[in-house]
């Protein structure tokens, strides 16, 4: 049996900082896997390596058994791996609708994109459906830069979804968002998971992670230290150690126990 996404012994250093050291992690198809760990434990770096934003010399990333190590971001995306960013990245001067349409090109050749209109009626309908899904349809014609922080997170999720990725890597989808919106995002992720999508979610909000994820993996200083059900992880003393002892810059999300 092999996992949908396999990360195998990946190491990454920035100067003297070992952001990832022989980090291995499997994500099974159809699951929602949580990825937690103190600040600076390498979670975002791991996402960057998987999605082609960072290159590694050691280790491998496989998707459906196929090596995708050091593939470019556009190639990784076309294979069906979408992601959101910890500091949300939207196209601020484009409208929400235009933001939605950026990722729709992945079905077509480059020459075709030159001669066709910005979008087809079908694509716009789909874009509107997804905006509806995240509750932003009413803002479709507005510049994305006018959205609030939480709305940006939702827009980023929606415009990734339009390309129909099989796996979604979400980097702190609930970070800095008010509680009612967090609940809303949880529901959206559950629904997408029911439709068969696989999730790997980085989050500091323990309530969110423990409530949503079937499996939780804990990282510490660039390595995976524990992997298991939320219950197991919560009970594991190594996790508590990592949060209480390991990190220099501790934060409130550490209330794991």
């Amino acid at each position: 049996m092999s996992a949908l996404l396999e990360i195998d012994g990946v190491s990454k250093a920035y100067g003297g900082v070992q952001a990832l050291s022989a980090c291995s992690l499997d994500v099974a198809e159809g699951t929602i896997t949580g990825l937690i760990g103190p600040n600076g434990s390498g979670k975002t770096t791991l996402f960057n390596v998987v999605t082609g934003y960072e290159h590694v010399n050691v280790g491998a990333v496989r998707y459906r058994g196929r090596a995708i190590t050091n593939h470019a971001p556009d190639q990784v995306f076309k294979l069906g791996i979408g992601r959101t960013f910890q500091l949300t990245r939207i196209f601020a001067r484009l409208t929400l609708m235009e933001n939605m349409l950026v990722a729709t090109q992945h079905h077509e050749g480059w020459a075709r994109s030159m001669v066709r209109r910005g979008s087809s009626a079908g694509e716009r309908r789909r874009a509107l459906e997804l905006l509806e899904f995240v509750g932003l349809a009413g803002h479709a014609g507005e510049a994305a830069g006018t959205l609030s922080y939480g709305q940006r997170k939702l827009l980023e999720l929606a415009y990734v979804l339009i390309a129909d990725p099989e796996v979604l890597l979400l980097d702190e989808p609930a970070g800095g968002i008010n509680p009612s919106l967090i609940h809303y995002i949880t529901e959206r992720i559950r629904e997408l998971n029911r439709q068969g999508r696989t999730f790997l979610v980085v989050e500091h909000n323990m309530e969110f992670v423990m409530g949503l994820c079937e499996r939780v993996t804990v990282m510490h200083q660039g390595c995976v230290i524990v992997s298991g059900t939320p219950h197991e992880v919560r009970a594991d003393p190594r996790v508590l150690d990592a949060y209480l002892g390991g990190a220099d810059d501790e934060e409130e999300g550490a209330g794991a126990a």
């Binding site: 960013f85 990245r89 601020a92 001067r93 090109q105 480059w110 030159m114 979008s119």
Partner: protein, 341 residues
Amino acid sequence: MLPRAAGLGLLLLGLGALPLVLSNPTYTSIAIFTLIYMTAATSWNTFAGYSGYIPLGHVVFFGSGAYTLAVAAQDWHLVGGYGMFLLIPLAGLVAGLLALPFGLVALRTRRHTFVVITIAIMFIFQLLAFNLGVTNGSSGIQIPTPLWPAATFNDPFYYITLGILILAVATSWFVRRSRFGLQLLAIRDDEDRARGLGVRTGRVKLTAFVISAIPVGMVGAMYAYFIGQIFPQFAFDPLFDVSVALMVFFGGLGTVAGPLLGAVVLEPLQQYLTLQFSIGDLYLIIYGVVFLAVILLMPRGVVPSTRDWLRARRTGRPDAPEVEGDTDRAAEVAAHTGSPT
């Protein structure tokens, strides 16, 4: 949509009738230079306005187009006349082909580095024009002059330049509406993010760069033919890009109408100042003042500022949201953009 189409039709009609109204060759000459700059500004904006990259080396395409016509006329012993205009597509082709290696090198960099690299490449070409045998160095090349009656001498130049301008504006408009244009705008806002959404950023940028070079090469050839001689210091004048960029910033970067407006205002002004005071560089001072005024008063350019102002008046709402999104949303919006983790 209809008033816009009607406005466009009227504009075209007016431009088409202009030589009939302005029979004085001095004025039609100014009109031809203005059309040349309208085309150059429009094409420059097709790349710079949509992608957010600011190149200051488009004079390379202008000069190459000019020399293509001059050298071809010389080597093939052409005589002045309508036939020479057939060299203009060739000039566009040469400019487009040069834009490939130019873009491949320059587009590996971004922002300030990109600007500096394009300037550096521009100086390399200027140096080549001074020193290569084919350009005849600083003694320049004479271009055969057509034997047309003086009264209507300028008209063919005017109408063919107008044709190139229409081509450039149509291209700019189609790019803006196409999927390709959307990808360029996404690159402008966050290139790495666009890449992560499957946009092949390298190809998209390079294609836009080549597309923006072609009409510039064509009007370069037109310029050379109209002037009747060509020298390296004029064909590869570093101030060309400064003028073009200023026209675009004045009218509105990233809009279709902005570059046209900028060129219509600034190029006749330059020609007038040069003719009136016979000081060739006086316009530089005026340009400097205009540039400062635009940056301070309307940092997004005249067209977007006016459009927002009109919309706000009509709806009675201050700063109504941008629906089409083709104008540069102000820095206040850009300031909220997230940066890479």
